[in-house]
Symmetry: C2
Subunit: 438 residues, 2 copies
Amino acid sequence: MNQPVRAIAEAARRASRALATCSAEQRDTAIRAAAQLIEQQHFQLLQTNRQDLDAAHRLLDSGEITSATFERLRLTDKKLAEMIHSMLAVADLPDPVGRVLQRTELDRGLVLDKVTCPLGVLAVIFEARPDAVTQISALALKSANAVILKAGREVERTAAALVEIIAQSLAQNGLPKDAVSMMTGRESVQQLLGMADLVDMVIPRGSKQLVEYIQANTRIPVLGHAEGICHIYVDAAADMEMALSLIDDAKTDYPAACNAAETVLVHQAIADEFLPRMAERLQGKQVKLRGCERTRAILSNHPVEAVSEGEWRHEYSDLVLAVRMVNSIDEAIDHIHMFGSSHTETIVTDDPAAAGRFLNAVDAAGVFHNASTRFADGFRYGFGAEVGISTSKLHARGPVGVEGLTTYKYVLRGSGQLARDYQGPKAKAFTHRPLEHE
Amino acid sequence: MNQPVRAIAEAARRASRALATCSAEQRDTAIRAAAQLIEQQHFQLLQTNRQDLDAAHRLLDSGEITSATFERLRLTDKKLAEMIHSMLAVADLPDPVGRVLQRTELDRGLVLDKVTCPLGVLAVIFEARPDAVTQISALALKSANAVILKAGREVERTAAALVEIIAQSLAQNGLPKDAVSMMTGRESVQQLLGMADLVDMVIPRGSKQLVEYIQANTRIPVLGHAEGICHIYVDAAADMEMALSLIDDAKTDYPAACNAAETVLVHQAIADEFLPRMAERLQGKQVKLRGCERTRAILSNHPVEAVSEGEWRHEYSDLVLAVRMVNSIDEAIDHIHMFGSSHTETIVTDDPAAAGRFLNAVDAAGVFHNASTRFADGFRYGFGAEVGISTSKLHARGPVGVEGLTTYKYVLRGSGQLARDYQGPKAKAFTHRPLEHE
């Protein structure tokens, strides 16, 4: 446990080389074996978790952690069953590695394949959830990546026990146990973030502060998002009843989620009728409203606080909703580009032209028409498992499935071809013929 | 020209919003109009270039630039014709934007599309080539991105004249002229590298020093490669005649290219016979050899300098080749992982198992069997145009075509669906049915 960080990362790199060439069956078998071992060691795991909980009790009493965090730490029979279930589901996914994405004949006997392959070494830094250990390890092994885990200190004992079980399953199935390892301490994170030569991707799972700290302190690519400031734009041609349901769902279904709505933009043409109906509906759901001046004027009979300019950029993660009246769809789009986080944006309208304009012009990972922002999620999108949600534009954007943990390489198979024969006055011609594959 | 950098970048961002929603025809027309205008203003351009050349003459005399750089600065009738030809070729490529990569029915009336879209704003920093201006601008407009160009100061007048022509063609075709802009001065680069909020990708085109400086000084994603240290591994089961031709091609066809070979690794089983034949062949081509101790022992009749440990990591970019004897294919693979730059690696062998092992285990953008490393190139791969070659694993890897300048977004079209209806005991089921598209 107290190995130097560099030694852990080098061992992970070596393990990743071995993983890259083993079969999908071997990796899937190891994931299933780990799930089985967790089931068998069920009581010991709950006992170990008890120690984390005892220590966390003191943090709870002193106010260092919230009761929500405390609950996330707790392992239960139900949580263990879910962890096992989701590991088995990951093992059942199709192999994301070695897929031929494209096959081109460059010339006779010279064929180029674009083939998926693992990234190499992942570093995953998370906070209190013990289930993150099993889910992330399963996803990493599924995609033939080694992974270094850094758990929040409140959950360290439980995480270490789970990592030990997974490492054991790897070793028993002929795979390098260093493919899943763990490190502790804040300084370790700092050191690891400097090892761009050994780590291919960092995945932070936790608070906005954690994600922003990591983004600001590493040159290693980061997969994730610091915040989700999602908007619902209610167009002049909106079906108001539909708009009310969508806003209700997007705000109240799970307010702490990153895909919950934070701001509603309402076209002025319908504001007089729509805003009072919306205020009624949301008051019944204990949602507090904040509004621009024009919104507050219309809702003068309702308790609506003023929104300060910077607040449009705030993620409430709570039963609070900001409301702004806009003069046009373009003003709504500008507001979204100015204050949004490029996560998920919805238009509610029955006008196909307005919908087309919004879906085309808005620059975000998800652009929705007449659907709740809450659908922005890997499981709902049908990915089987979710690595995270990315608001960066490069590599993977939006909800990311296991293929977000892969890259590709070009495999060229020839029979002695020389590049110089394809240039100059007597150049041989390339055929560049797409070939069937898979 | 002397606008503050932030104002240039903000104007580029605004222009990128407009580009994102205009039609492919509009963008193609603007590219073709610019090509035509360059043809028409042919004499003025050569005159402007004359001024750059006059200034460069002094730099040449004082040894500040090499004669190779001087030649790259020079615009000629032939170069102008090539520039125009390649702009028209880019205009003729299929539209990389708005392509549906995947379509999934989540439920009846709820359809998810994964659609390609532009990145937004590109910053391209290059050195002496005037043809970079037209090629990059055409690629950017093709993919609906705005681009900010920073040319080497030796070519500033020529670059500014070309940018002016392109901006004029944009304006004449109803597109924002700020979609292609230019900035000058080293401090501008430094400032721009800090604007991650306004610039989506930086593409450095130039020396290893330039690329490394940029990689080290920005949080904006960088597309490119600092160096190409490509290996050819001659296996025990290699066809020696083929190996000799491939090494000759990969080393001597264009030694300054990033896809030229720098190191040959030879299996010990054939070294006694192969190395003297290789030395003969390459001596006839003026290639200087450097070798490990065992190589030098076999080639004791040839002038082979010793290679120091760090030198295996050196890109000669010249008629110099490092040679190392290895005991096994695994030692060759380890050498490549230790000293390579993940660019392009070749195995020469008639043994399918050895080829399979090499192609599978080697972690690089290109892994080749019985083909010259020089094939690692966007045109040879059939991409029509090349944005650059990337040795990073995320986003685009290897030679990058115009689709490397795009990202994607998820477009969800519904009819009022709520996320909460798909969870809990009475949950509606997702269909997650792949649909035909395009």
